[in-house]
Amino acid sequence: MNATADGLSVEKVHVWRGDRHVLKGVSLNLGPRQLLHVSGPNGTGKTTLLRVVCGLLRPEQGLVSWLGTSIASVRTEYQATLAYASHEPALKADLTALENLRFAVGLKRRVTVDELRSCLERTGVAVCADLPARVLSAGQRRRVAMARVLAMNASLWLLDEPFTNLDGAGADLMSGLLQSHVEQGGAALVVAHHDLKIDVDMRRLDLGP
């Protein structure tokens, strides 16, 4: 168990929620060109683990480090390099898909509208760009959220159940995007309860009891 200096490392993380011991000493390593598939039944702390890795939740015990330094000491810089997609699409219903992207991605890096449009095109929702998020279907919202991840140009992707609400074509598209991200040197941590069929350096962490 040695911290990888070129990626993400989680060492013996413990989290309690009230009386519930949600994460019991979870450890993982994730370097560039790698994909880690976190699986396990409901209530085993998959989302909690993701929130710990993001730095949103500080674990009671254990250490999360990025490029060899603890994320607690470089939180904002670290968070600038990651793209997180929670299990809800996190879109403002009153804003259009494009505006949603502009306000979310614009805080991470300077981005042009054309770039954002091309990201929406890559996830197959270019037609939705100027529609308010409230009229989009669940699958379309998921694709917009994926376009946001793409547009952030982040080296670390943290995705919580990215395949929910996607049809077969959407799932294939998602797998393709993950594959090209990892092949281009990125790292991805994907929480999914079913098997992933992606042809990259993929490992699996089962949080089951």
């Binding site: 968070q79 990651l82 809800e88 306000f103």
Partner: protein
């Protein structure tokens, strides 16, 4: 390629303003509430203009505090409910900057709007035009300070289901100095006495709160985001 703090601040303020103007009803509700409450007082009291004028500063200020508080509940809640607050927190800009921008934008659409309609209410309550400048200045300082106090309260109650009542319960005691100095300043301006003392106090409170409250509100949000 990195986004500077000022640019990020502007972007978040634009986002908040954009969201508010997409929902004009929510923008108007606190203002209408303000007007209704100030109408209730004269109806509940006997219609003696002299009595009304004596009560005016208190009525105006209580109504202003309550209507600003009404909208503060939504400051972080709507973003927390749809998950965008997490995205903002992870934007790599530091949560304090986000909190500052959001609170400032919130004040622009509630507090500043309230200051602009206050002359109408003031006229109805019999406040002379000569006191309007002081009244508006004190309301501006007071609502800005309240927005900051409210940001702490909103951060603390964001994850709670019935957070609205609790928010009032924890913010109103903290807001009492505002009421005292704000109504005091307005009162003095009505009776033609110099109100600078009270205004200085209000300004001092405003500066003090603006300096410390962003950090407290950030800590509050971090606690409830976990």
């Amino acid at each position: 390629m990195n986004v500077g703090a000022l640019e990020a601040f502007g972007l978040v303020v634009r986002r908040e303003l954009c969201l508010s103007f997409r929902r004009p009803d929510q923008l108007l509700q606190p203002l209408v509430f303000f007007l209704i409450v100030t109408t209730l007082f004269p109806l509940g009291l006997s219609l003696q203009l002299s009595l009304l004028r004596d009560m005016a500063p208190g009525v105006l200020w209580v109504a202003a505090l309550l209507s600003s508080l009404l909208s503060l509940d939504a400051l972080f809640k709507s973003d927390a409910d749809d998950g965008t607050l997490e995205q903002l927190a992870l934007s790599g800009q530091g949560l304090t900057l986000i909190v500052v921008a959001k609170t400032f934008a919130h004040w622009l659409v509630t507090g500043a709007a309230l200051v602009l309609v206050s002359p109408i209410v003031g006229t109805a309550l019999g406040i002379p035009g000569s006191a309007f400048a002081t009244m508006m200045l004190s309301l501006g300082l007071g609502t800005l300070t309240l927005s900051w106090l409210g940001a702490i309260g909103a951060g603390l109650t964001v994850g709670l289901r019935r957070g609205n009542v609790l928010l009032s319960l924890i913010v109103l005691p903290l807001a009492m100095p505002l009421l005292i100095f704000g109504a005091g300043a307005t009162d003095r301006a009505i009776s033609g006495v110099s109100a600078t003392g009270a205004l200085y106090f209000l300004a001092a409170l405003c500066v003090f709160t603006c300096t410390l409250a962003p950090f407290a509100a950030t800590v509050a949000l971090r606690i409830t985001l976990e």
